[in-house]
């Protein structure tokens, strides 16, 4: 491993020296904050506009065949009562009133009909809001506060669960192991392309032949992989630190949910498993992407492969509900053990607590073996594909070299 440190420091420094590295990383939490701020501001403005439109006065006619709407409320709203639906609709059409509400005899089965002057797509919602308000207030005046809360869905629960006789909160236990799932997602999504291109560049630049007479292929590949791993960790820290700081500083302003760090439960076994799965998965996919990069002549030709790899990594997310509800299912077991799909199922199942220790050990073993194999393959492909400037190496050629 002569020159490993030289390769590592060159690969690491030339990436962190680039402005685009810092821009892409720092832009991420900024974008998340911006999206949250836009969503919050937009939601707030919408609520305010809705309240404003609901408080706007409009002339109203009513036919209540249900008998639910309180006559006092009809009077308070200044609504006129029409003899039948046709009369109400005619009054709206002629411009005599702004809106007409028809409450059918059985409002549990038939919809409340609203006929009204068009006030614009957004402001038309005020008619629906007032119709519902009439019904709610009519009913709530005759029931207790508790019944009112039940009907409005304003009931909260407080659950205490026990495991082996000790109080146990599954949600709080899954937060820390779950962080590894989120980290893996971000690191691969943001770094995959760089992994793929890290070996293509030398071929594209025609620097490879000079390079390989100065450094061993294995040293070069391992140095590159180590640099990518450290860069990935730097990236994670640079995303996490501003995100945590942003959360702490803007939690109240953005009405973000409060996270009581002191109440988090630390299941060290699951945290260790999550860390090991994260590290090995990251190593495995780094090796895989470097191998793909080494086997193609240009970055352009490497492009389609990243899509296929991303599909394999993140495709299992579509079966996420199955990982939670039926971890014994054959498809879940397959996706958990097959190295190309394993990271998401393993990290997710470890976070929710249904990954058994023996499953974790077997899958980690598989990932470890595959990582060693794929790094060796990357060295082989790079060595023999290095001088193929204009064509891809076939699988047969890679395996056929002695």
């Amino acid at each position: 491993m002569h020159n490993l440190g030289t390769v590592f420091s060159f690969e690491f420094l030339r990436t962190v020296k680039k402005k685009v590295f810092w821009i892409s990383i720092l832009l991420f939490p900024v974008m998340i904050a911006a999206i949250a701020a836009i969503a919050y501001t937009s939601g707030k403005a919408t609520d305010e506009a809705l309240k404003e439109s609901q408080s706007e006065k409009f002339s109203l006619a009513i036919v209540d065949e249900s008998g639910v709407v309180s006559p006092q409320l009809i009077e308070a709203f200044g609504a006129t009562v029409k003899p039948d639906r046709e009369a109400g609709v005619t009054a709206v059409k002629s411009g005599q009133v702004d809106a007409f509400f028809y409450f059918p005899s059985d409002i549990s089965k038939n919809p409340v009909e609203i006929y009204a002057q068009d006030a614009g797509m957004f402001d038309n919602s005020k008619y629906d809001a007032v119709a519902k308000l009439l019904l709610e207030q009519s009913v709530s005046s005759s029931v207790s506060e508790s019944v009112k809360a039940i009907l409005q869905g304003n009931i909260t629960t407080n659950t205490v669960t026990y495991k082996d006789g000790v109080e146990f909160d599954g949600i709080k236990t899954m937060i820390i192991p779950g962080i590894f799932l989120v980290l893996f997602y971000f690191v691969i999504a943001m770094f995959g392309n760089q992994m793929l291109n890290s070996t293509v560049e030398e071929k594209e630049n025609r620097v490879i032949e000079m390079l390989l007479t100065s450094v061993e292929t294995r040293t070069l590949i391992i140095g590159k992989i180590l640099a990518l791993i450290v860069l990935g960790l730097v990236q994670v820290l640079l995303i996490l630190i501003p995100t945590i700081l942003g959360y702490l500083l803007l939690k109240d302003q953005l009405s973000l949910p409060s996270l009581d760090l002191a109440s988090l439960t630390f299941d060290w076994g699951r945290i260790a498993a999550g860390f090991a799965i994260f590290v090995l998965s990251f190593l495995f996919f780094t090796g895989l992407l470097v191998t793909i990069g080494a086997s193609v002549p240009t970055a352009k030709e490497a492009g389609p492969f990243i899509g296929a790899v991303m599909l394999l990594i993140f495709g299992p997310l579509y079966a996420a509900s199955l990982f939670v509800s039926n971890p014994e299912a054959g498809i879940v077991q397959f996706l958990s053990y097959f190295p190309l799909t394993a990271p998401i199922p393993l990290l997710l199942r470890n976070a929710i607590g249904n990954l058994q220790p023996h499953e974790a050990l077997i899958s980690l073993g598989i990932l470890l073996v595959c990582t060693v194999l794929v790094v060796n393959l990357a060295v082989r492909v790079f060595r023999y594909g290095a001088l193929e400037y204009s064509r891809k190496l076939s699988f047969k050629e890679i395996l056929g070299k002695n």
Partner: protein
């Protein structure tokens, strides 16, 4: 007789059904400048790539200092390949220091040597500039500098003047002569016969993967009735395109 630094012994190289080199044997002696000559496709680059471990020979043995070449620092090699390039988005000095360190120099020595070399080739003010901002000729100077970093004991130059402008060609010749004086061994792969006459002690002319002529320049000329190397080249390769 001077001991051989390079030995190629019954070397055969096949790509699929095509035999590029067929049972080739020759030696390069320590301290000499050896011309490896031949028309396009005659197997010159293949021989060098096999010597440097990029290709695995179908048969035969290729050694430097008595053993197959390995990048372990035991041979101070300066190699200028036919297919050459640099890290385009890195600065001149960072690239030179990187290669200097890979060749066994300390970062400080590599930086100092690079700066001195860049001053010599009038690129002293370009050290911090990205390589893709340099002209083609300036990039060639940097490549040449990288090739001769760390005082190589063995220089392998594969068509070194290919694409070089006259200024860089002169620079290259000067540098090769400097290293000759220091006792370095050089393999010079080309089909520019005037350069061969000026620089080489012994030559090998490859034809169809075999040695068509092998010996000192004087011996080869004598064998062909005192003709110039240009005429010998034309005689050996006949009507083939040798551009």
């Amino acid at each position: 007789m001077t001991k051989a630094i390079i030995s190629v012994d019954h070397f055969t190289m096949k790509f699929g059904d095509t035999t590029v080199i067929d049972d080739l044997s020759f030696e390069v002696r320590r301290g000499e400048t050896f011309g490896l000559l031949g028309s396009n496709g005659s197997g010159k680059t293949t021989t060098i790539r096999a010597l440097l471990g990029a290709y695995i020979p179908t048969a035969g043995k290729l050694t430097i200092n008595g053993k197959p070449y390995r990048v372990d620092g035991s041979v101070r090699l300066g190699y200028l390949p036919e297919e050459r390039g640099l890290y385009k988005k890195e600065s001149v000095i960072d690239t030179m220091v990187y290669f200097g360190r890979l060749k066994g120099m300390s970062a400080r020595d590599a930086r100092a040597w690079s700066q001195q070399y860049l001053e010599r080739v009038e690129l002293g003010d370009k050290a911090g500039i990205r390589l893709d901002k340099l002209s083609g000729g300036q990039q060639q100077k940097v490549q040449l500098g990288i090739t001769v970093m760390n005082n190589p004991e063995l220089l392998i130059l594969d068509e070194p003047t290919k694409g070089f402008d006259p200024v860089n060609r002169r620079l290259l010749m000067d540098i090769i002569e400097e290293h000759q004086k220091k006792g370095a061994t050089a393999i010079y792969i080309t089909h520019q016969m005037e350069e061969v006459e000026r620089l080489c002690d012994r030559i090998l002319l490859l034809k169809n993967g075999n040695a068509a002529a092998y010996g000192t320049v004087k011996e080869v000329k004598k064998k062909y009735g005192g003709k110039s190397l240009d005429d010998i080249f034309v005689e050996i390769y006949g009507g083939r395109d040798n551009a």
